[in-house]
Symmetry: C2
Subunit: 198 residues, 2 copies
DNA sequence: AATATAAACGGACCGCGGTCCGTTTATATT
DNA sequence: AATATAAACGGACCGCGGTCCGTTTATATT
């Protein structure tokens, strides 16, 4: 009988061909996205570029949103480390209020880079709030808010803050409504001040 | 030569067959949605039920999201009248701060009824912020916020408030995160207080 | 009433995301 | 090395949203 797979610790226990195909697919996806943008990526195209069958793509990532999620996860890894264990003002050396403000400021600054990717990973509309990247950010915001005396319901307040940072909204404010990133950032700072005031 | 159509004043200048088909389609769509839910509505199905060609559906509503928008617009007409010209606390007889609070409270209370419809009308992710229903609500919030002394940037603050009332988020908070409507409403009231405090 | 014409119609068609299931292959076991 | 088997593979297939374009029709004009 075959050993049952552990299933823990990420993808370390994948079969060799599976791991190789994952890598091929992610590389091909990144190529397409950087060449022609997020919208232009189709799953058939991706399968062809990576030299695998279409079924394999869906076996690996579940859906188009899942693939985007994987790309986003990879692209955000540096940011995640920064706000979890990096230097001030994002990291734990800084006071909670300033970390909150720095968090949003960084997110808004990165809008041009990762905005499209985030929006593509959010298409779902319902499960978008369960994506690992978002869940992690949310628990981070909740933790920071819980450390401040003026906040009654840190979890719900975290959702309120995160809602403003949603990629679709920020892109709309910047591109369609024509607001400058400075103005949006200022709005973020004021919002954080407001919800944390005693 | 034929008279050029005015194009103004809604759909009053539609050809008779066009107007009839619009009505047939909206009725059929409402039937399907109330019978089997928003998700179950397909454009082919709708065309068949209404007894028209598929092209006609898209000629009328542009897209699935456009159709949902039309349904939502119809469903929300009463609410729109309430907050624009109805009695207190939603209407103009009440003070701005209380109207703001009543607005969100009403939206949260109506979640079970129109939440799914709103989410379906929002699928786009980018143009969702340009839909007439939302634009109207947004300008209403902006106006109320502009009447309060503590608000520096009413337009941006309106977006921040509206972001929390987004249907996908509220449904997630209520159904997935398990928060009661009372708690969510309380969060809304606190948020309004916070962003309007001097 | 006859006519012209812009508007509306409708269904064949397209490309996409996603599924299904018979085939292949990596790996544990002997 | 041979074997068993669970996992991975891949491409035909499906249903959907959306488009295209030849055909029909409401309506203004004569």
């Amino acid at each position: 009988m075959q050993m049952s797979r552990s299933g823990e610790a990420g993808f370390g226990c994948e079969r060799l061909d599976a791991a190789r195909n994952r890598r091929l697919l992610l590389e091909a996806a990144l190529d397409i996205v950087s060449e022609r943008g997020v919208e232009a990526l189709t799953m058939d195209d991706l399968a062809r570029r990576a030299g695998v069958g279409k079924g394999t793509v869906f076996r690996r990532f579940g859906s188009r949103a899942g693939l985007m999620q994987a790309l986003l996860d990879h692209a955000q890894r540096g940011f995640q480390e920064s706000y979890m264990s990096g230097p001030a003002p994002l990291g734990p050396a800084e006071a909670p209020l300033q970390r909150l403000q720095a968090f949003g400021t960084a997110r808004i600054r990165a809008l041009e880079l990762t905005g499209e990717l985030r929006r593509a990973a959010d298409v779902d509309g319902f499960t978008q709030h369960r994506h690992p990247v978002r869940v992690l950010e949310l628990s981070h915001l909740t933790m920071l808010l819980a450390a401040l005396p003026g906040v009654r319901d840190p979890e719900l307040t975290a959702y309120q803050l995160e809602a403003f940072l949603e990629a679709g909204l920020l892109l709309h404010l910047h591109r369609t409504a024509g607001m400058s990133l400075e103005r949006i950032t200022e709005g973020w700072l004021k919002l954080v001040e407001a919800v944390t005031a005693e």
